[in-house]
Amino acid sequence: MTDESNQASLAAHIVTSYDEDLQYLVRRIAEMGGVAERMLEEAVVSLVNSDPALSQKVISDDLLLDDAERQIGEKAVLIIAKRQPMAADLRDVIGAIRIAADLERVGDMAKNIAKRVLAVQGMAQPKKLVRGLDHLAELALTQLKEVLDAYSQRSAEMANSIRERDDEIDAIYTSLFRELLTYMMEDPRNITACTHLLFCAKNIERIGDHATNIAEVVYYIATGDQLVNDRPKDDETATVGAGD
């Protein structure tokens, strides 16, 4: 099914409250997406600027996402029970449940970054590494923003191109990983800070993976088909240090 015909299928239901139920899910997902984006942005800013107050805000914001995920899940179950959605409507409901779960995890990742701000506070952070982390976060944020646009437009095409781009994040993560290792080897006093930064980088890379998951769900919602071909993967950190 093309994007166009899918758009056309969004004609109103005979039962108006059914449309309201489905719109509720779309609206809440968009809200969750906004919160998740902001949390990631603020977590990285608080890390770069060593801002514990901002990091504290990120940590408490995570509750918003936990609540939203639960409410979306409850509403989705209620819609299934009351209306027995079919075809595109069914995919909408199932998709909302899955996307809410991914966004909730994005919140957890951002919260984890924020928690580390206190630990690395006051330690000398090499500018280059922090810049690298910032760049990684920017890419992840772009992926997250675009995948939420793809969701609101039900665009399979956009979803597919977002999924194809995850390898950029993986590649940068791998190079950051190497740099952090080098830095730790140079001076063992860097190990604590670098280990925390390594986890931060890993968290950001995972956020990219969640954006990819969401892209796959959006593709499914729009077309009814699952993306099965392997997407490009450039995360080579599992083998870094093994024989190089």
Binding site: M1, S5, A8, S9, A11, A12, H13, I14, V15, Y18, R83, Q84, P85, M86, A87, A88, D89, L90, R91, T223, G224, D225
Partner: protein
């Protein structure tokens, strides 16, 4: 783990192993007087499968169902064109005995309509007029087997001589199914068989349909999308006298190809 090629082969084999065609409609047009009710319908009914016919009221699904055992013959102004075959033989051929055809292609209606006779007689009537049994013990056996297949025997075995009309709605409908089974049909047509039943009775009939599929080919008209999705393997969607889309039930209810199917099953028009 299967290799990709092996999986493809297995999937391909599955497609090829579709059950054989039991009934086939080709270019079926139906007219009631001057107005045309069906336009060039091509549909295969496969053996030992449940085929669901869905679509909004007046779309032609019941008309098509009634063509399959020439129930439309009883309407004077009704005219059927095109061909409908049963095991390859044209059922509208002049040589076909309509009574015999309806024994091979039985029917269950929307409203349970047991004869105003005993439960036993309701079942035995068909086999008697078709000469399928002679002795009392032969009739007893047919009655018991048919009631068992319809999942009703245990509930009525102690009151076989009571009137069929005294049963509950759900039991009456299963009695009608048992009556249809009693003449050993090959195909059973069901026109909204559960619309007058409560959810429990509906569940029992649906369970029965699934069991009957082992021995019979079933075509069911239903307004309940969930029922069509639950009981059938193939679904055909009608709209304004046209067959819009026909395919695997699983696909039809998760990802239909046609916009009209999508709109209908999701409650956007009807």
């Amino acid at each position: 783990m299967m290799s990709e090629a092996a999986v493809e082969e297995a999937v391909g084999a599955k497609v090829d192993s579709q059950p054989p065609v039991k009934m086939q409609g080709r270019m079926v047009c139906v007219y009631y007087g001057d107005s045309q009710a069906l336009y060039d319908v091509n549909l295969d009914i496969r053996k030992n499968q449940v085929t669901a016919l869905i679509g909004p009221s007046g779309c032609g699904k019941s008309t098509f169902l009634r063509c399959l055992n020439r129930m439309n013959d009883t309407i004077d102004t009704c005219q059927v064109k095109g061909s409908i075959t049963l095991d390859g033989g044209d059922i509208y051929d002049a040589s076909v005995d309509v009574v015999e055809l309806r024994a091979r292609v039985g029917m269950v209606f929307q409203k349970p309509n047991p004869f105003p006779k005993s439960i036993y007689e309701n079942i035995a009537y068909g086999p008697r007029i078709h000469g399928l049994a002679r002795t009392k013990s032969e009739f007893d056996e047919i009655v018991e087997t048919s009631l068992r297949k319809a999942g009703l025997f245990e509930e009525v075995k102690d009151r076989l001589t009571s009137p069929g009309t005294g049963l509950s709605g759900g039991q009456q409908q299963r009695l009608c199914i048992a009556r249809a089974i009693a003449v050993s049909p090959e195909v059973i047509l069901m026109d909204e068989p559960c619309s007058a039943l409560d959810p429990i009775a509906t569940a029992k009939v649906e369970e029965l349909i699934d069991e009957l599929r082992q021995n019979f080919t079933i075509v069911i008209v239903t307004h309940s999308m969930q029922q069509a999705a639950r009981v059938s393997q193939r679904t055909a969607m009608f709209h304004l006298g046209n067959l819009v889309e026909e395919g695997d039930t699983d696909k039809m209810f998760t990802n239909p190809d046609d916009q009209r199917t999508q709109d209908y099953i999701t409650g956007r028009f009807g």
